[in-house]
């Protein structure tokens, strides 16, 4: 006996089901609640940064009755904010530029030459992806102090670039393998040198992966804490995460001012996030899917 007549089945599916609608509303409400929970720490940081110590002690959760902007002025002065900002910007720009230049070139020859010789370098770079940074911590510190690279921005840039090479060269190789060879072959036939071919033909074709790597390595360099913690111990070369960390050690009694410093250093990356949101999330997932 065949009860599931095709027409009957479609009718059943299209029938409106009020129970579903309610569960959908409930689900959306729950999701909004979760999102609020995720934002809660940010709210706390903002509220702390604009309160006076008295108000914080009375009610840590409540929004202040009057906004203490002076916390910000004090924070800028006490944390040497602009020096740290400058160091962070320099470090990030340097690391991103070097990473893209160096990794794309290396990945290009590795992807195009499937020989044992170049595969060796591929696996060499790749092996560092799973290597915990702690293994390098002591010896890197020692090497950097011997080369007088400790407490310098170039030293930090070199270290961050070196640490990132494994992962980004890996992403580049994967992408370059999907770029057709024909274009560069015709350029070679026209007598262009290898460098010329790379910079005028290949590099422009790498635009999608370049932007992915730009985003990933910028976030990595901007937020890096461990590498810079090891290699920078002086204020002159301290980046924002380091300054925040030390600042909180020194000013535990002035929590509100310290939180103002936190908000200040969050502003640049938040602006970057709001404007480049699609790009950031796209970059992160592209890295994941292709990796």
């Amino acid at each position: 006996m065949n009860t599931t007549h095709p027409a009957a089945a479609t009718v059943q599916v299209q029938e409106p089901r009020p129970r579903r609608k309610w569960s959908q509303i409930l689900r959306v409400a729950l999701l909004y609640l979760i999102a609020i929970l995720f934002l809660f720490p940010f709210y706390i940081a903002v509220v702390y940064s604009i309160k006076t110590p008295v108000e914080t002690a009375q009610s840590p959760l409540a929004f202040p009755t009057h906004i203490a902007w002076s916390n910000y002025a004090e924070a800028i002065e006490a944390s040497n904010f602009f020096l740290a900002l400058r160091n962070s910007v320099l470090t990030t720009v340097g690391t991103v530029a070097l990473t893209i230049a160096v990794c794309s070139m290396a990945a290009y020859v590795i992807a195009r030459n499937n020989t044992r010789f170049y595969n060796f370098f591929y696996y060499l770079f790749m092996s560092s992806i799973m290597l915990p940074f702690q293994v390098l911590m002591f010896p890197l510190y020692k090497t950097w102090s011997e080369l007088s690279l400790l407490n310098t921005i170039p030293g930090l840039i070199i270290a961050l670039t070196g640490v990132q090479i494994g992962y980004f060269a890996f992403l580049y190789v994967g992408f370059i393998k999907t770029v057709p060879k024909e274009l560069e072959e015709s350029a070679v036939l026209d007598g262009a040198s290898r460098y010329r071919t790379f910079y005028s033909i290949i590099f422009p074709l790498l635009k999608p992966i370049n932007s992915t790597i730009l985003v990933l390595s910028a976030l990595g360099a901007w937020n890096d804490f461990v590498v810079s913690m090891i290699l920078v111990q002086k204020k002159e070369a301290s980046t924002l995460p380091l300054v925040q960390f030390q600042f909180f050690g020194e000013y535990t009694s002035q929590v509100n001012m310290a939180f103002a410093a936190i908000i200040l250093s969050m502003i640049p990356i938040m602006i970057f996030y709001l404007f480049a949101q699609k790009w950031i999330i796209g970059g992160v997932t592209a890295g994941a899917v292709k990796g």
Binding site: F38, F125, V135, L136, M137, F138, I280
Partner: protein
Amino acid sequence: MTHRIRDEWVKFTFIIPALLFFVLVVVFPFIRGLNIAFTNWDGIAPTYDYVGLRNLQLLFTDTELLDPIKNTLLFTVITTICINVFGLLLAVALNTKFPGVNLLKSFIFMPMVISLVLAAIIWRYIYSDIFPILFQTDGGLLGNPTTVMIGIAIICVWKEIGLAMVIYYAGLQTIPKDMYESARIDGATSYKQFTKITVPLLLPAFTYCIPLWIGTGLRQFDYPMVATKGGPVHRPRRLPCMSITMNSLISKPATDRCQPLCCLYLF
């Protein structure tokens, strides 16, 4: 022939800059670290002697070093499970159209873009000031050896779940919609659809995400370091990993632990 050799050399020059950085930052220190693992170097002294496998032996007899290993494993299990399970659930829940869905996605991803230091410091104050008000606890989540792991795991999950969510979300976009439609016509419940369609077709995302967070967990250092300020040497015994390492380097007390630690990370 000479032309070919020249061309091979030109090709090789492409790899030289990357190789220089890599050797200087990774290969050379790695070899040095390997060397240190077999010596009694204390981290500061100019001279040291080779002691063979003694450090490895210390590693397995020193119970204070076994604790952080156990903690690291536990931390890895907790965070990997939480981040992946909740990240996947969020991705599935957000894979529908409703007002504000994109806003919610960007809110949940937001902790991922701020630095770990900021995240840990903010949470420190949430534990000490806000938790007592909300949950009537004493708020010593990070100060108490038995709960410090949970405290740090919460920070880690809060910060990194957004990444899991967007990766799983991207994976969900690759699953054709008509599969669900035909399953629905065949009378499959949403639970059945999830286990029979979503999970198997998300396999590539799983094979990326799960090793990613197992790796992150096992290498964990910065969350406990920032959340508990590194702590005095005797305190981090129960912390996930290795605040001891940092301490011995930064505050430079003569410590007898740094060679076993080098060893620990290498093996």
